[in-house]
């Protein structure tokens, strides 16, 4: 039914005159359920950036960008439904913001020849582009994040954390389990003790985990949480008076809505990040002028400048730049998903480009190549100030332990390749 309607509408548009097809960017968002607190700002940022491009620049390379939003509720079944319903509309790139849905889509997008960008989430070993031809996770992945946390702790302790005790509180899912392997390797290398404490979906029940932390008295607690789990964990940490400055979250556990419920007690909580925070960038003036003031902001329009809003905007920016690159390579404004993939693989982000986009020093400079779909993996650390209610960067973007991570990526992607009969190599 829907298909016929679309066909009819398309037919009518064709008959009416040579209309330019839009560049379709599906947004598999979640504005409902226990993970909505993170899904809403990300999706708003993603939508608003494309609105900005349409309003200010008239689209990408003269073609309007169209964002098709589809609610997944962080649920893999709905994610599949969203994927199937949007891929027929010429979807150029998928960014599901869910590791579970990513695992589902990796084989599907490869078969359907559509690129998948999982920025800072998804399957880490997708950084190996020789095996994962259609999956990209630049500019940083989970294992960079894990290593970034450990590097930061090394720095704070003068380069020696042997004998220290680190507890990992993680979401008991593919997402939360992802860093364990890297942290285990790093614990061997640096001699710290790792205790992993799983928290089951959705994460409201954490009393026993924090009781154990209270008993164990770890030197540091690292968190791999998402959604409502973050808020509960930070509250629980405050309840047992765990020193907040020794509590570090991954980038999915470090946004305003995560720390606000705990109030002043959350002061000093830290989180790693792969892009800058705050709204002190010229691009936000444009967003205010062309999007928010024009009444075109997505959602309630109250998320501008939040950590996850920035990340959504950054994801949209990388997608738009890849689309531009693809347009240049193939010499046509109306690109296909296959061209988009080429654009992503040839993407070059340097400081001059970021400056021109109004995002100086917002994210790292990097070049994507067929061998490396993972970017440089630079990790910074942010800290929450409860009084001024802001996140600020306390440690600049630094490289992670590529020696350990590279080996793990090699292993895991080789396992995937042999499971699925993929011949690694660059075409």
């Amino acid at each position: 039914m829907k298909k016929t309607l679309t066909t009819l509408a398309l037919g009518a548009a064709m008959a009416a005159g040579p209309a330019m097809a839009d560049l379709v960017f599906p947004d598999l968002s979640y504005r409902t359920g226990p993970y909505a607190a993170g899904g809403i700002p990300f999706s708003d940022g993603y939508n608003d950036y494309f609105t900005l491009l349409n309003e200010r620049d008239g689209g990408i390379g003269g073609v309007k960008a169209k964002v098709v939003e589809c609610e997944t509720g962080y649920n893999t079944e709905k994610g599949v439904e969203c994927y199937e319903s949007t891929k027929g509309q010429g979807a150029l790139i998928y960014q599901p913001l869910s590791t579970g849905i990513t695992y589902q889509l990796i084989p599907k997008v490869t078969a359907d020849n559509i690129p998948l960008h999982t920025m800072g989430y998804g399957r880490t070993s997708a950084a190996n582009g020789e095996v994962f031809s259609h999956v990209f996770n630049y500019p940083a992945n989970y294992w960079n994040g894990a290593s970034g946390v450990v590097n930061y702790l090394l720095e704070a302790n003068g380069g020696d954390i042997s004998g220290k005790k680190i507890s990992l509180v993680y979401h008991n899912s593919a997402y939360g389990k992802e860093p364990i392997r890297t942290l285990e390797e790093l614990s061997k290398k640096h001699g710290f003790e790792l205790v992993a404490l799983p928290v089951d979906h959705p994460g409201q029940e954490q009393k026993s985990q924090w009781l154990q932390i209270r008993r164990d008295r770890p030197d540091y607690v690292v968190m791999w949480g998402w959604g409502v789990m973050n808020q509960v964990a930070i509250q629980e940490a405050a309840n047992i008076r765990f020193p907040m400055e020794n509590f570090i979250g991954v980038w999915w556990s470090g946004a305003e809505h995560d720390v606000m419920p705990a109030g002043d007690k959350a002061d000093g909580y830290k989180a790693v990040t792969f892009h800058n925070v705050g709204r002190d960038f010229p691009v936000f003036d444009d967003i205010q002028k062309y999007v928010v003031d024009a009444g075109k902001a997505a959602g309630a329009g109250d998320q501008v400048g939040n950590v996850l809003y920035n990340r959504g905007m950054y994801a949209a920016m990388l997608a738009a730049e890849a689309a531009k690159t693809a347009q240049e390579i193939h010499g046509t404004a109306e690109i296909t998903p296959a061209m988009m993939r080429d654009g992503m693989e040839a993407l070059v982000i340097d400081e001059a480009k970021m400056e021109a986009l109004g995002m100086p020093n917002f994210g790292p400079s990097f070049n994507v190549s067929c061998e490396n779909h993972g970017g440089p993996g630079l990790v910074g650390v942010t800290q929450w100030d409860a009084e001024s209610k802001t996140w600020s960067l306390i440690s600049d973007f630094k490289p992670s332990d590529t020696e350990v991570i590279g080996k793990l990526i090699e292993e895991d992607s080789a396992a995937y390749a042999s499971e699925n009969n993929i011949e690694p190599g660059c075409k």
Binding site: I40, E81, G100
Partner: protein
Amino acid sequence: MFYREAGDFKVSYADDSQTFPIKFDRYRYYVVLAVAFGLIPFLINDYWANAILLPFLIYSIAAIGLNILVGYCGQVSLGTGGFMAVGAYACYKLMTAFPEVSMFIHVILAGGITAIVCVLFGLPSLRIKGFYLAVATLAAQFFLVWLFNRVPWFYNYSASGQINAPERDTFGIIITGPNAPAWATYLFCLIFLAVCALIARNLTRGTVGRTWMAIRDMDIAAEIIGVNPLKAKLTAFAVSGFFIGISGALFFAVYLGAVEVGEAFGIQKSFLVLFMVILGGLGSIFGSFAGAAFLVLLPVILKVVGVDLLNWPTDIVAHFQLVIVGALIIVFLIAEPHGMAQLWRVAKEKLRLWPFPH
């Protein structure tokens, strides 16, 4: 007029006890089969297969399985999600251990393994009933999910704890993995559904089904007239487990392709299938189909109407869906406790009398 026994002469006992005694019903059944097997495979595309038909077929199998346990035998179970997980993990282990064996055999074996597990967890039903049994099966749900999360052997020691269905075929046709054609996955599930429904229908019409229903209606009376409760309850658990295991295996291998046990087979799955059975109609095979179709189609229809036609925000539509499903469950419980199957039964009764009602 056209829906009645009159003029349809039965000349043998076999004719007299057939599944669909009314001619119109019989032909309708053949037409449904013909369309499902002969027409839809030629028209199907990825969207229809993955968003609508596969979930419908797979949930129907699960609903039939649960209906046998809850609707026919009266043993309340909240462990459906856990038992589906057993089917999925059994299928995964078999698929990876014996790649050259046909998918049909893997799925059937997965059903068999689930049947054994289900019987194990059904043993307490000999001592406890009603709510207490529901709690015992709830324990099964949580234990099984915990087990599959905890023991790396089940997910072949993969880093993420997820299981991914590799590409497997049957008779040279790819059934699982991203390259499987839509018609093949659809037909594969349809064959399982058709056979399961046929078995379930005939079991419930025969001796086994009658002992289940006797136990359901009053277990002490059933025991007095010579029904063995041990045998009746455990066969119900076994058959139910077999169907639920098949649906879990198909759910993982054919439909989703990658599964995370806590997310895909959590407690909400148990409730979803239970709602299908309650809304569709307890103790009715048709009800299982109706309930599954209803709960699979409703979100899709609401999405198409709300988001695509009316251009409402996606979150509003998603919230509306919760409100509507919740309201419908309450309405059904009050207005028609026997579910959609009862509506269908009443409609047929009316049709028989039409156009001259009493």
